[in-house]
């Protein structure tokens, strides 16, 4: 069980916020653009010095895999070296790359890869630390529909293979929420708070979020 608590930050982007996240929770975080969704992810990962709080697992801080919008692999290290830097062996690195469809690319440098491939390599790094919590910041942004579709089914497969892992995924797209999530968070207001926290099965929850996003047409 992960306990999430955020104190209001210096810049008044985030308000007070607390939630419990269970293993296997797949949360999609929706909200108007610029409301502070990335700030919230950073706060959860403990990356925002202006925000007190974060996520705890009992007395310890959980292992967090963070798929940033940019790949943030070290450009001067090969994929294999990038993975080994977070603590896996060479063999495990090969397996992880194979798992994200990058078999044979171990010796490539990140900038030699297309955007979609680099994002998959970054996903492999998330998995390398066997995360208790996987954070994703708009994983399908700026990918063409085919590449985004491939990545989406890849992520679905990974979530199925790791039933004990929790996920929080920022997205703009209601379709992502419907396919990936079993729980929805809706962030809004100034300072931003969780205006909605409910299971994704509830059609009302989805519609509420979609209305909020003014994407009602898709519901």
């Amino acid at each position: 069980m992960l306990d999430l608590s955020i104190e209001p930050d210096d810049h008044a982007i985030l308000g007070e916020l607390s939630a419990r996240v269970s293993p296997g929770d797949r949360i999609c975080l929706l909200g108007p653009s610029g409301i502070g969704k990335t700030t919230l992810l950073n706060a959860i990962a403990g990356l925002d010095p202006g925000v007190a709080g974060g996520v705890r697992s009992g007395d310890s801080s959980p292992r967090i895999g963070y798929l940033f919008q940019e790949h943030r692999l070290l450009p001067w290290r090969t994929l294999q070296q990038n993975l080994r830097l977070v603590g896996v062996s060479g063999g495990e690195a090969e397996e992880l790359l194979m798992a994200v469809g990058l078999a044979g690319k171990a010796d490539y440098f990140p900038d030699q890869l297309s955007l979609g491939m680099a994002r998959r390599a970054a996903l492999a790094r998330c998995l390398a630390i066997r995360p208790q919590l996987l954070l994703m910041d708009e994983p399908f942004a700026s990918l063409d529909p085919d590449t985004a579709g491939t990545l989406k089914s890849l992520i679905q497969g990974i979530l199925d293979a790791h039933p004990g892992m929790a996920m929080i995924c920022v997205t703009h797209d209601a379709g992502d929420a419907e396919t990936l999530a079993n729980r929805l968070w809706y962030l809004d207001g100034k300072p931003a708070r969780l205006q909605w926290d409910g299971p994704v099965e509830s059609a009302g929850a989805v519609r509420h979020c979609l209305d909020g996003l003014r994407l009602g047409a898709r519901a």
């Binding site: 963070y66 450009p75 001067w76 690319k105 297309s114 630390i129």
Partner: protein
Amino acid sequence: MISHAGRAPAWTYWVVLPSVILLWALAAMVLDSNLLPAPTRVMATLLDEAANGQLWYHLGATLGRVIIAFSVAMALGTAIGLAMGRSAVTNALFDPLLVVLLNLPALVTIILMYVWFGLVETAAVLAVVINKVPNVAVTVREGARSLDSRLEQMARVYRFTRWQRFREVWVPQLFPYLMAATRGGLALIWKIVLVVELLGRSNGVGFQLHMAFQVFDVATILAYSLAFITIVQLIELAILQPLDRRANRWRQPGVAHA
């Protein structure tokens, strides 16, 4: 094939320098004076000095001082530059001192070190280090200010150790700055070392220049200068350029698609 507008053909390299040497040879012939020896005489002096071992002894002494002063100055300057680039308070504290040191003439430092510590090796090397550290610090500070905060966040999420953060995240980003400091450093340091040797050491290229100056032996002066210029060029070709190429391997073009 992309054409490089700024790239000149290879023969251009062989125009100006040979012409200067030719002019020098002509002038030496016309003047026929010991104060302007012909290139051939300088070459002969160089070979003589190499054969009797003097050249290697003094080059070695100078090179040793250059290497020690360079290493200490780079290490200190990098540490100070990083600290100043990463912290506004540290920067504000030390910036005035840096400005003073940057504008302190090398000669003043050398004289002060010799006056305070005596004509000893430590004073000599210290004088060079004090002259060079501010330049390194200023260059590395620029680099430290441009460190990518996004990679910094990544390193925190994935719990990089301090050493990993330094070696894997910082050094590659600082590399161009460190190389600039290295190149500027070598050029500056060996010139200062010569002055240090001239003023207070009993070996090294600077000492030899001093001896030659006293008897107006221009051939020896030019021979030693040439020898040292050659060494610095060799360091550039044999160490710095390969290092550059190795560090920039990841910038190679060619993109895989899937």
